[in-house]
């Protein structure tokens, strides 16, 4: 009897608590930045595509829902010719983000991806690419890589000596 009253009392007190129910979609929830939602492709601080088409995200993906093809611009910079994620298969495990050596692929807090038509869950590069660097504002892979690209010759990356003169006999 007593416990019954106590329970009713507790329930009564709840009327004065802050409400847990969220008025979604009228009130949008605040997700933490590391939430694993819709995947995007980011750009480096220079505004260029970050993805270098290394295929690591696609190979790590447990459901194999990332497909891409590497290509190069005229100056040796590698980027994906196409980049496709089939979100109807994606399990939002975040392994692609972990595997990505360039911080290009990132999971975002957005989870509002419901579709009536499965086909609309196939995202191409145009749908994935955002205009900024996402969660990692500074990293610029081509600045640290040894590959020469347009605007960055040999020896011009971070922490590089100028190219060796192979004809020199100096010790």
């Amino acid at each position: 009897m007593l416990s019954l009253l106590r329970t009713m009392w507790i329930i009564f007190l709840h009327m004065f608590h802050k409400r847990e129910t969220q008025e979604y979609p009228d009130v949008l929830p605040q997700q933490p930045p590391r939430w694993r939602g819709r995947i995007i492709l980011s750009r480096d601080p220079d505004g260029e595509e970050r993805c270098v088409a290394c295929n690591l995200c696609s190979v790590v993906c447990p459901v194999a829902c990332i497909a891409l093809q590497a290509t190069e611009d005229g100056h040796g910079r590698r980027y994906p010719e196409f980049f496709r994620i089939n979100f109807s298969r994606c399990i939002f495990c975040g392994l692609c983000e972990e595997a990505c050596p360039t911080y290009a692929i990132q999971l975002t807090p957005d989870f509002e991806m419901g579709e009536y038509n499965r086909k609309n869950l196939v995202y191409e590069k145009e749908d994935l690419l955002i205009s900024g660097p996402g969660k990692y504002p500074d990293y610029n892979f081509y600045r640290v890589a040894g590959l020469a690209i347009g605007g960055k010759g040999k020896g011009e990356a971070d922490c590089e000596e100028p190219p060796v003169n192979t004809r020199s006999l100096m010790p």
């Binding site: 496709r84 086909k119 060796v164 192979t166």
Partner: protein, 903 residues
């Protein structure tokens, strides 16, 4: 044998081998860089350190380089002790100090020996915080990409390129940590084997530039064991496909055939598979038709009272050729070899059949201790044979190694010891060849004189062999010298082939090998056939294009079915034109548009080698199976399937039982007993391991649920493969399959091509379970061997004022029909020319700007003159097989020099 102890475990191993070789053969994981099973040890990288102990009580031991330490009985070694482990981790750490941060954009990534070894030696974090040295790269031609920053100075590239392949234009420059591997200046790599740098270099310095155009990681390639289709050698290859495109070709090891290497024609010649000139739809008089319409139309023609003939192909499988033979009947089937080509091929086949010399595999060629090359420019017609022959000159100097107490694998010491001494190697050719640098003597002669030299050599070995009359003093002396050397060799080899276009040359080669055998020497003979299945179709059918044309003139068949050949490359223009006039309906089954398909009334689109299964016979007489790599889009299907469909439509009873390729091969074996061993060369389609098929896709194959999602969100069922034990899927048995079914080389921790070690019985030895392929021709040795000396010796060539004799010249890049579709090969190939000696040119009043008319059958072609100093006087070199110059096939004999119209 020796008993050694490694990490406390005892092993029985072969004494005298180096420890690294032994450890890897035992399946242990020991990191290495500079050692290569085909190149031997030099001890340059210090990566293979292990500890060796004096005796049982020795607690300290000392670090030794496994690759430089011969195995001896009672040896005690540790690989896993902390000190050698730290040593190896430190070595790789220092190798990596300047290594760029490139893996994600490096084409080696995912199949990089450096990545593998870094992980294996436990160097997980990079501590180097200073500036890295950098290099500028070079342009090395259309095939090889250069990225020097990634070099770890293992010296493998120059050791392969210079020491092994005889190249001159790749070298090391500068000193200390500035050592640079490249050319003196930018330019196309000269060696025909430069593509092997891709596999030899353990890092991403030299990578495949053709692959780079459509780059795909190793783990994303669908692969299957296959055979190169670009010459008669029949190298084993692994082609890889992604997104319906063939993306690259890697070597597939076969210790009897190509071993570790491929030539550049084979490696980079695959673009025809992706060509825009592919035939993709059935056509009836150049209009796209449905499969059933095309079939019923052709069958309609077949049923016409006047009957049909079939022309087979030396570049189609035995099965497809056999199916066509079944369709038209044995008497009406012709093998598709051109007039001269067929005579030469049947002669060569007769020689190989009769023996008594055994046809040499490439491995045998490498082991020969005296070589005579008669009239074949091997580097251009059978490139990999040339690479193997190049190694043969090392055998004689090697014989005295044991006295000097130097093991054969000790490459640095061996080369130091041998210096420039080389075993005997004689080349008689029309012009300079790429093997001349290793030759003891070279003779530049007209084809008939090459034959005469050969006949004379045979006569000097065995008196009873006929001698040419009126031989000049110089040639007589040369013949004596060659005969003397060959007679005293243990494993002499005579090399010739169809390349010279002269049957007397083949006969002379046969005489030399017969003479050697009858004087008790174990001689080998290697006769090169022009294409990947020339020997196979010759065994299937003797009658060639010549007989086909005769048959047409006599019997006027209603229709001709042409299987995978361009008739215009095989016969004189006017003859083929006449064929098209004579026969109202010509049907082609082919994969590329060519002059023949352009005139055909019906075309059925067939798969290339990468889209079909089958067997082919190489020049050695080895029948080898190739497996389909990927499924082409409908309605493209294998040639034999098209023919089966035709057969079914005609109501043929046998074809009803042809459900898969095995059934076709079985019919073939029962009808043509000579080819029955082919059954042993293939693994039958119902073979399973643990109830599973063998997957063509690696277990890491990515993107399966996205690659087609833009077309259809529902993933299709993987295509079934009724014809082989392989599956178009990543599911199946992922252990080591039988040697002939190895679709790729991979082992845990070994992602690069070096994982091959795990697939061999012993490193550098045969594949586990025996090398795939089956020899068809084993001649009866000794007395009982049939046949006799050839005795129709041609007259000596005497140049006639103002006339030139046509001699065939072959080009590794250009003479092959299919590989020229690769842009890189097209870039490197010559354009039509006529090569003449500058003195002849002067006599005829020609300069290098001149053009002359060269007769081809009833027509003539105007060709640009180039000077070639090495040609004998009175001989004109004509390049064979160039795509814009099919008339070359009809050029022979001598002609009068006439200036063409100067442009």
């Amino acid at each position: 044998m020796a008993t050694i102890e490694i990490d406390g475990k005892e092993y029985e191993v072969e004494a005298g081998k180096n420890l690294l070789h032994v450890a890897l053969s035992l399946g242990l994981n020991l990191p290495y860089f500079c050692w290569h099973p085909a190149l031997g040890s030099v001890g340059a990288c210090r990566q293979c350190a292990v500890k060796q102990y004096k005796d049982k009580d020795d607690q300290h031991g000392r670090l030794v380089m496994a690759c430089m330490t011969p195995v001896s009985d009672g040896m005690r070694i540790t690989v896993e002790d902390p000190e050698s482990k730290t040593f190896r981790a430190t070595v790789i750490e220092s190798l990596m100090t300047n290594h760029p941060h490139d893996c994600p954009i490096c084409d080696e990534g995912g199949e990089c020996h450096l990545q593998d070894m870094t992980v294996m030696s436990g160097h997980n974090y990079r501590d180097y915080r200073f500036k890295k040295r950098t290099f500028n790269n070079q342009y090395l031609g259309p095939h090889i990409n250069h990225e020097m920053n990634r070099c770890i100075t293992c010296y493998r590239c120059v050791r392969f390129y210079r020491d092994y392949a005889g190249g001159r234009d790749l070298d090391e420059y500068a000193s200390k940590n500035h050592v640079y591997f490249g050319r003196f200046e930018d330019g196309v790599l000269e060696s025909e084997f430069s593509g092997n740098l891709v596999e030899v270099c353990p890092t991403g310095v030299f990578t495949d530039k053709e692959l780079k155009k459509h780059y795909t990681r190793k783990w994303d390639l669908q692969t299957a064991p296959s055979i190169c289709v670009h010459c008669g050698v029949g190298c084993n290859i692994i082609p890889g496909e992604r997104y319906g495109q063939l993306r690259r070709i890697l070597n597939r090891y076969n210790s009897e055939v190509n071993g570790y290497f491929l030539c550049d024609r084979g490696r980079f010649g695959y673009e025809f598979v992706n060509s825009s000139e592919r035939i993709r739809e059935p056509k009836l008089s150049s209009d796209v038709a449905s499969k059933s319409d095309a079939i019923s139309q052709i069958v309609g023609w077949l049923k016409d009272g006047k009957g049909a003939i079939g022309i087979g192909s030396p570049r189609a499988s035995l099965e497809s050729n056999f199916a066509l033979r079944e369709l038209v009947g044995k008497d009406r089937f012709f093998n598709g070899l051109g007039v001269k080509e067929n005579r030469l091929a049947s002669l060569a086949l007769k020689i190989l059949r009769e023996g008594p010399a055994r046809s040499a595999s490439l491995n045998d060629a490498e082991k020969a201790d005296a070589v005579l090359v008669l009239g074949e420019d091997v580097t251009q017609t059978a490139p990999m044979l040339a690479l193997k022959l190049r190694q043969s000159v090392r055998n004689v100097p090697m014989e005295s190694l044991s006295q000097a107490n130097i093991p054969q694998w000790h490459d640095g010491a061996v080369r130091e010891f041998a210096q420039d001494s080389k075993g005997p190697f004689f080349i008689a050719s029309v012009k300079a060849t790429r093997l001349d640098d290793i030759a003891t003597e070279t003779y530049r002669l007209a084809p008939s004189d090459i034959a005469r030299l050969g006949f004379a050599v045979a006569h000097h070995i065995d008196e009873s062999a006929p001698a040419p009359s009126g031989l000049d003093q110089e040639t007589e002396e040369a013949a004596k010298r060659i005969a003397e050397v060959l007679k005293n060799a243990k494993k002499p080899l005579v090399v010739s082939g169809t390349g010279s276009g002269e049957s007397a040359v083949l006969e002379a080669a046969a005489n030399v090998s017969r003479a050697l055998c009858s004087s008790g020497v174990q001689a080998g003979i290697s006769l090169n056939f022009p294409e990947c299945n020339s020997l196979g179709v010759s065994m299937l059918e003797e009658k060639g294009l010549e007989e086909a044309l005769e048959y047409v003139n006599a019997n006027h068949p209603a229709t001709v079915i042409v299987l995978e050949i361009d008739l215009y490359r095989r016969g004189a223009l006017e003859e083929i034109d006449r064929l098209f006039e004579e026969v109202s309906q010509i049907s082609c089954i082919d994969h590329l548009e060519n002059r023949t398909t352009a005139n055909a009334s019906a075309i059925l689109p067939c798969g290339t080698f990468a889209e079909s299964d089958g067997t082919m016979v190489n020049s050695e007489g080895r029948v080898q199976a190739f497996y389909q790599v990927f499924v082409p889009p409908d309605p493209i299907q294998e040639s034999w399937r098209w023919i089966r469909d035709l057969l079914l439509e005609t109501g043929n009873a046998k074809a009803k039982s042809w459900n898969d390729l095995d059934d076709v091969l079985e019919s073939l074996a029962s009808e043509i007993p000579d080819l029955a061993p082919a059954l042993d060369a293939v693994v039958s389609a119902d073979f399973r391991i643990a109830g599973q098929k063998i997957p063509r896709q690696p277990h890491r194959y990515s993107g399966r649920t996205a690659m087609r999602a833009n077309i259809d969100i529902h993933e299709p069922k993987p295509p079934q493969d009724p014809d082989s034990p392989l599956a178009f899927s990543m599911e199946g048995f992922h252990g080591k399959p039988p040697s002939g079914l190895a679709s790729r080389f991979w082992a845990p921790g070994w992602n690069s091509v070096q994982s091959l070690n795990k697939f061999q019985e012993e490193v550098g030895g045969p594949m586990r379970g025996g090398d795939p392929g089956k020899r068809l021709l084993e001649p009866i040795p000794g007395e009982a061997s049939p046949g006799q000396y050839y005795s129709s010796i041609p007259a000596a060539f005497s140049p006639e004022e103002g006339h030139l004799l046509i001699a065939h010249v072959h080009h590794i890049f250009g003479s092959d029909e299919l590989s020229v579709h690769s842009p890189g090969i097209d870039e490197l190939r010559p354009r039509p020319y006529v090569a003449i000696h500058p003195e002849d040119a002067k006599q005829c009043g020609l300069d290098e700007e001149s053009e002359i008319d060269v007769p081809a059958g009833e027509n003539s072609v105007t060709l640009k003159v180039t000077f070639e100093n090495s040609l004998p006087r009175g001989v004109a070199g004509i390049p064979m097989g160039l795509p814009e110059f099919p008339e070359a096939v009809a050029m022979s004999g001598s002609f009068k020099v006439q200036q063409g119209v100067k442009q």
